[in-house]
């Protein structure tokens, strides 16, 4: 049994958008180094759940503790917590007015007060790691979708986060570019990064996940290791979903 404190602890969370309940009594713990893949039909609340972890979405009740910091504690600086939690978006969201290199160095220089040269050195290492070092001086519009997403991953890593959140990172990509992004994510997982990934890529879930979370209608219906989850799903709704998607 793992005796380390969980790095993310979500307990009995409810979230409302107006009168619509997006999350209902959601609880989930993530251990350091664990890879959690969240799947479910669209509108199931999986992206909302992910976005509550760095408070891009506020919760209505319940509690979320990230790396020892309670998100609803007013004495906690949410911006400091966000520095610890990298996020990768479906639509990349690279800063369009900056070169790739500047996209990576902006936050370390302004927020972590790193020297520009030091930040650039680190940025170049990260760009090499995700395979786009030759694009350092390009602007985002000059890159393909797959390249942009790899840069977005590198940008998040530039802050040396303890946790990485991925919100459908391959859903906006052309099929031939999905592989190059997933490869980077697999490498990251192998290096021991704590990851919470919302995705439709079942192959990735099977290969990388320590546990798979299935959501529907704003609730978590099932949490299981991938082997159990895919081969012996317990819940009827899970079975229907897997049948449709596989």
């Amino acid at each position: 049994m793992n005796v380390v404190d969980p790095i993310i602890q979500i307990e009995h969370v409810n979230t409302f958008f107006g009168s619509f309940q997006a999350l209902t009594d959601v609880s989930l713990t993530v251990q350091p180094g664990e890879k959690v893949v969240v799947i479910g039909p669209s509108g199931s609340g999986k992206s909302t759940l992910l976005r509550t972890i760095n408070r891009l979405e506020k919760i209505s009740s319940g509690s979320i503790v990230v790396d020892g910091h309670a998100l609803d504690d007013p004495s906690q600086d949410i911006n400091k917590i966000r520095e610890e939690v990298g996020m990768v978006f479906q639509s990349f969201n690279l800063f369009r007015h900056m070169t790739v290199l500047k996209n990576l160095t902006l936050a370390p220089v302004k927020l972590k007060k790193q020297q520009k040269s030091q930040a650039e050195k680190h940025a170049m290492e990260l760009l090499a790691k995700v395979g786009v070092a030759d694009k350092a001086s390009s602007y985002p519009v000059q890159l393909s979708g797959g390249q942009q997403q790899r840069v977005a991953i590198a940008r998040a890593l530039a802050m040396n986060p303890a946790i990485m959140l991925f919100d459908e990172p391959t859903s906006a990509l052309d099929p031939e570019m999905i592989g190059e992004v997933l490869d980077v994510m697999v490498t990251l997982a192998r290096e021991g990064m704590t990851m919470v990934v919302v995705t439709h890529e079942m192959g990735f879930a099977r290969e990388v996940a320590d546990k798979v979370v299935f959501m529907d209608g704003g609730r978590i219906l099932e949490i299981a290791p991938p082997g159990t989850f895919f081969d012996y799903p317990v819940h009827e709704r899970t079975r229907t979903f897997l049948k449709q998607i596989l």
Partner: protein, 261 residues
């Protein structure tokens, strides 16, 4: 991925020619060369009174530019504050900014000019030119506020989310991520406002500021050459706005470099 640039057309300044707008570009050259030709004709074949008049006006041209530049600086500052205020989540800030915009937009500029000139005059004695700059600055600040607001809102919300997720707070996000991008969208309408403002400075001639128009009126009332005077004044305004619109169009092109592949 929407790469299409949002163009906010306020449309009370001179049209700014873009390279892709062939019609407007040739219209610009036609107007510019035509105006120059007319000016040259008048100065060469009718040096009296036109050359005499032209020598009488430079002071006024300088005043017009001084008023324009000082007012646009004030208007940009107020416009940025008003624009940020209008999108603020703080209800009081939002209400103050919105009320400013509503009130100013509902009063004709000429009335505002009189009002600030005389109302201010009851409290403190300010030079005519300062009163003119304050009135123009406050008026254009309200319009500029809407331009800033639209420019900021035109930036994809994903940019804000990416910035917040890295740990930037809201004002850092505005400063490093949103405003540098919004500026490009904002620049064309701000350029339009600048040119519109330059034209509207002619109103200040009414409150004893010696701009181009007032200098012209002084000349005309002494010489009774009304037609000639206003012909030349129209030509000067036209040349200034044409040159400015060309400059702005070039600046705009340069700022859009990161959009091109």
């Amino acid at each position: 991925m929407s790469e299409k640039q949002v163009i906010i057309d306020v449309g009370d300044g001179a049209a700014i020619p873009r390279p892709e707008d062939k019609g407007l570009l040739s219209a610009w050259w036609l107007s510019f060369l035509g105006t120059l030709a007319v000016l040259a004709y008048l100065l060469i074949f009718h040096p009296d009174p036109y050359l005499r008049l032209l020598k009488f006006l430079p002071d006024g041209i300088i005043v017009t530019f001084q008023v324009t530049i000082a007012s646009i600086c004030l208007a940009l500052l107020l416009g940025l504050l008003a624009g940020l205020g209008r999108i603020s989540r703080n209800r009081i800030v939002n209400l103050v900014a919105s009320t400013y915009v509503e009130i100013i937009r509902g009063i004709p500029l000429l009335v505002q000019l009189f009002y600030i000139y005389f109302a201010l005059g009851r409290i403190v004695r300010v030079p005519d030119m300062v009163a003119a700059i304050i009135a123009l600055g406050f008026c254009y600040g309200a319009y500029m506020g809407e331009v800033f607001r639209a420019g900021i809102m035109s930036i994809d919300h994903g940019q804000t989310e990416a910035s917040l997720s890295l740990g930037f707070n809201r004002s850092q996000t505005m400063r490093y991520v949103i405003l540098p991008q919004a500026w490009r969208t904002i620049l064309p309408p701000v350029g339009n406002e600048f040119i519109a403002l330059l034209k509207d400075t002619s109103l200040v001639s009414i409150i004893a500021v010696s701009d181009i128009l007032r200098r012209g009126r002084e000349f005309a009332s002494e010489s009774f050459l009304y037609f000639e005077t206003y012909t030349l004044i129209a030509i000067i305004y036209l040349l200034i706005t044409l040159v400015l619109s060309k400059i702005l169009s070039n600046v705009e092109q340069r700022l859009s470099h990161y959009e091109r592949r």
